[in-house]
Subunit: 278 residues, 2 copies
C-alpha cells in the first residue's frame, strides 16, 4: 500500500511485475498533442517530473545519468564528432550535452512533438540552456523521414533519444530506420540508441543489436548505467560504429575538453563498455 498521507504518481510496469511511485506536490501541466499526452508534476524530492502517456520520461534530479551516458561515450569514442543528429530528445537534455563538446560544429534535434520542447523550456529550463547556441538546430518533424532524407555520409553521430518502443517511437526500433542511419553516417560514424533495461528488456536489446548488425555496422556495444526513474533503475544505450572500434574516452582528451559531468568519466565509460547482459 502507498501511504495515504501523500499524493503519488505511479508508473506500473506490468511486463516486469513492478511499479515505481513518486510523492507529488502539484500537477503543473497537461498537454494533449497530436501524438501523446504530456503531464508535468512537481515532486517532493525529484524536482519536476515529465510523464508521457503515463510513462515517466525524466525527473530534474536524475536525468543527468541518462543524458550523460547517451551522449559522452559516443562523442568521446569518435575522433571528431563535428555533425550530430539527435532523434527525439525533445526535452533538449541530450542536445545540451552534445553542445558541451567544442568540436561539434552542428547539432540538429529532430523531435516529432514540439510541445515536449515547449514544456521542457518552461519546466526544465536547465536542460534547454544551449537551445540558443548558434550550432543548435531544432526541427519538429518525423525522425524516420528526416534520417531517410539525409545525404549519405553526412553525419558523424546519430543519437536516438526516444520514448519506449510503442506509440510514436515504434519505428525507431525497426530495421529500416537503422539501415537509414547507417547510410546517413560518415565512415567511422557512430549510432547510439537508448535500449531499455539490461535486466528486463533483453529481447529488445537483442533486437536493437540485430538491426545494427543487419544494417552493416562493424562494432556494436551495449553500455549499462543506473537510471533511477526507469523500470529496474538499470538502463542501457546500444552503440554501433560504421567501421572502427568503440573505445573508452582518452582521459587526456576528456580533461582537455573542460566538460563537467556528474556521472560520466573515462573510467565509468570503460566500465559501461564492459557491461554483460545477464
Amino acid at each position: 500500500m502507498l501511504p495515504s498521507s501523500h499524493k503519488w504518481f505511479t508508473e506500473p510496469c506490468m511486463e516486469a511485475g513492478v511499479a515505481a511511485s513518486w510523492t507529488i506536490e502539484k500537477h503543473l501541466a497537461r498537454e494533449v498533442t497530436d501524438y501523446q499526452t504530456i503531464d508535468i508534476y512537481q515532486t517532493s524530492h525529484w524536482g519536476n517530473l515529465m510523464v508521457i502517456d503515463g510513462f515517466v520520461m525524466l525527473t530534474a534530479r536524475d536525468n543527468f545519468l541518462y543524458h550523460e551516458m547517451l551522449t559522452h561515450p559516443a562523442l568521446f569514442s569518435h575522433e571528431s564528432p563535428a555533425r550530430v543528429v539527435v532523434i527525439g530528445g525533445g526535452d533538449c537534455g541530450t542536445l545540451r550535452e552534445v553542445l558541451a563538446h567544442r568540436n561539434v560544429r552542428h547539432c540538429t534535434q529532430v523531435e516529432i512533438d514540439e510541445q515536449v520542447t515547449r514544456l521542457s523550456e518552461k519546466f526544465f529550463p536547465e536542460l534547454c540552456e544551449r537551445n540558443d547556441d548558434k550550432r543548435a538546430e531544432l526541427v519538429f518533424d518525423d525522425g524516420l523521414a528526416y534520417v531517410r532524407n539525409l545525404p549519405p555520409g553526412s553525419v558523424d553521430v546519430i543519437i536516438v533519444d526516444s520514448t519506449d518502443p510503442i506509440g510514436p517511437a515504434e519505428g525507431l526500433f525497426g530495421p529500416d530506420f537503422v539501415a537509414d542511419c547507417f547510410a546517413a553516417l560518415s565512415d567511422g560514424g557512430i549510432m547510439v540508441q537508448q535500449s531499455e533495461s539490461p535486466l528486463i528488456h533483453q529481447k529488445l536489446i537483442a533486437g536493437v543489436r540485430g538491426n545494427m548488425q543487419q544494417a552493416g555496422f562493424e562494432t556494436i556495444r551495449t553500455l549499462g548505467f543506473p537510471q533511477p526513474c526507469y523500470p529496474s533503475g538499470w538502463w542501457s544505450a546500444t552503440q554501433a560504429r560504421k567501421g572502427g572500434s568503440l573505445e573508452p574516452a582518452d582521459p587526456a582528451r576528456f580533461e582537455a575538453s573542460g566538460i563537467t559531468t556528474r556521472y560520466f568519466n573515462p573510467g565509468v565509460h570503460a566500465g559501461a563498455l564492459a557491461t554483460q547482459i545477464p
Copy 2:
C-alpha cells in the same frame, strides 16, 4: 494508483519521496524473531522476495548484482584473501560468492539472526549452496562483539553485508566498529561495507568514509552498481584498505579463477572504482 488487478508489496522510502512495488502471488512465510520481522513473498516476476521490517532485502532475480559487487572487487583487489569474515549476510549469498574464490581458506559468516539463514535455506536455496563447504563457518552472534574479539591482524577481508543503518545494523555504521575492523585486518587487509544509494544517501556515504579515514585506513573507494530492488536502483559498496591501493581485478587472474559472474568482470570493476558521488 497501483492497479487493483494485482496484489502488491510496496516499500515506501519517504526520505527520498519514492516507493517501489512488486506484484505478489503469495505470502510464503513470516517469522517474528528477537531482532526483527522477516517476511517471504513469492512474486510474479522476481522469484522469491525477502523483506525485513518492511524493507526489501533481496529478490531471487536481482541479488546477483549486490552479492557479486560486494564480494569480487574486494577479493580480486587483495593479492591473497585467505581469511574472510562476513558480518551480517544471513541470506548466505555473499558467503557463496566468497567461497567461489579457491584461494579463500576460511570464511566465517556472523549473522545476528539465525532465522534469516534458516529462511534463506528454505526459500533461496541457490544462495546457500556453499553453506556445507568445509571452508565455511556459520556463526549466529553479534557482529560488533565478534569483530571486537578477533585477534589483531587475523583477517584479510571483512565484508559488512548489513541491513539499513537502523535497528540491529545501526552499530555497524559507527566509528568503533570500523576501528575494530581495522585492528582485526592484516596488513593490506580490505574492509568493504554496503553503503546505500549514491544518489539519495550521500551523507551516509560521507559518514562511512569518515569512519574509515578516522580508523586509519590508507585507501578508501566507493563503488557504484545497479541494484533494482533497493531505493533508486543505484547502490554502493565502500572499500577501505589497510595499506596499499585498491586496483581493478587483473583480467588474467579473473580468467584463471574460473569464477562465473553475471555482472562483475574486470572492466565493470574498473568502472565501479571510477564512481563519483554526484
